[in-house]
Amino acid sequence: MFTQHRTRRLGMALTAMAAAAALTLTGCASGGDNGGGEGGGDADLSVTFLPKNLGNPYFDTSSAGGTEAVEEFGGEFAEVGPSEASPTSQVSFIQTAAQQGVGALVVSANDPEAICDALDEARDAGVKVVTFDSDTNPECRDLFINQATAEGIAKIQVDLIAEQIGGAGQIAILSASANATNQNAWIELMEEELAANHPDIELVETVYGDDDDQTSFDKTAALLQTYPELKGIVSPTTVGIAAAARYLSTSEYKGQVALTGLGTPNQMREYVEDGTVTAFALWNPADLGYLAAYAAKALIEGEITGEEGDTFEAGKLGDYEVGPDATVLLGDPYVFDAENIGDFDF
């Protein structure tokens, strides 16, 4: 009997310890949040950012922009998110935001449809929903902050390559896969832009690197051998431009053949610094987050409702107008070159 009592008591003790540990953790965690909740309640300007996943440099940059904006207008900033970008992983965070009754939720959607119902429920609970970077179906959100239009992306790349090769000569395009929707749309617009404004530039071939580093690398090598007169390559995909730059930087063509397209500063830094690449384009995620935060504020304060033609002021970025489908356009893509690449880390 004695034995039994002892072990039982020990069992209870262990369970109690586990319980205590869990509770302490819960207690600590919530203690920190109380202040945040109250602050948000006073101003009603609590803005929660929900990126596709946490620990992604691109979204770290956009959230930094969001934080800056929210601090400027005196709101409460929070960032939550799943650790992996799966379609349904954002749902629980949206639900949590609805329960907390935050002023606005700024989301980059992992899936246009999967989080739709959750967003609708959050809106029913009074949360304003702004999407940025990746949109959901238009009826599930109040506003979408579009980083760039297809026309803008096509034009900036054509402008960059034209400038770099002196407005005349052969160029080629290194794209993602042959049926990539975005890239194909951009390439079509680039062809139109070339035909309209740069008749001396000849697009000799579009090759597909399938967004695979090695394939893109090999296709670049093949392009340069097939067209000895080639003066420039445009790669409207971040994987392609990095692989092409890697090939060019170690080949005899370095500095002879121009390369531009869409890339991220971290991938391209060494090639800009060693002179392989002069300039490339993308949008600035910090500005994107900044604008999204100001749009959220305008929605919370009822300054805009998402109607076409509504205007609002976004701090240092100036005034913006809501376009069709409740979309706000950030502006022209951002050009990264040796001058400014050091300011970015994504």
Partner: protein, 358 residues
Amino acid sequence: MTATAPAPAPDTRTTRTYEAYSHSPWRRLLVNREAAIIGLLLAVIAVALAVVPNFDSPLTVTYLLRDIAPILLIALPMTLIIVTEEIDLSVASVVGLSSVMTGILTQAGWPFALAAVTAILVGTLAGVVNGFLITVVGLPSLAVTIGTLALFRGIAVGLLGTTAITEFPEFWTDLAKENIPGTPIPGIMIPFAVLAIGFAILLHFTPFGRSLYAIGLNTEAAAFSGVDVGRTKFLLFILSGTVAGFAGVYFTLLYSNARGDNATGMELQVIAAVLLGGVSIFGGRGALHGVIAGVLLIGTLGSALRLAGVTSDIINVITGVLLVLSVVSASLLAWLRRRRISAIGKKKGASAASPPSP
């Protein structure tokens, strides 16, 4: 193969106690692992209500139960399987496969109810494949279900590629999200309650259920006492596949989303909850109310911590620590008990050896 029961010291004859009957009924009911988990669950709820802002809103209950419903459902047959010392790692892949089937058939113009029933039957079929390989061919369930985990997931992703089907009849998607009228409790809890009662009766109040414990404790002994071990396990895997198929249909409707990679990794959440609920991975031990409390505990803790602004990584750490603690405490207790018993056994043995001479 079977869990080696703690080897009794050679002289335990005089000190052997019958664990299950050495206490009064109320103590047996209130002082055990299941009760500990339920107590911990209640404590977490109480603390969360007291200190976490917004935890007391009815939305919390709705969201919480809705999100963990697939895990709750699959945990029922998983408990039975683990009690027999087997495991089914393929459940999440079956959820994915069933989700994809629901999507493809709905897109092909089938009436939704028919598509859903077919998807559930596909789950049943997946269970038959598992059961056949494990009981008829005689392969270990760990190996078989690791294989079918990849196989079913592969078929699911292969059927739909990376696309998603998102168009479902509104009647059904609304139904999946509907609450029981007048309460914040989601409607999915009704089929869950029916299944839970069914499984509880099956496991705890039928000869079939007793035979599961017998198999888990000692397969040979169970076979010799007349239990058809193969048929029993076959049935369990079919049940598991079917319930996972049903969970897949629900998952699809809940997120209006049929994709090959739906519910990836859910098998580990299910198994973690089952083990937390006091089921022994070595078989022969566990009860359904503990398992349900285990699932609710993980869900509630996650929900409360998220509301308190804790990041998902930290929530994973806390859940992980809780699980490890629960397993360690069980092993530690067993080890301490063995030591105690053998120590006392020796003492008693020694005192028993000297006096009887007169």
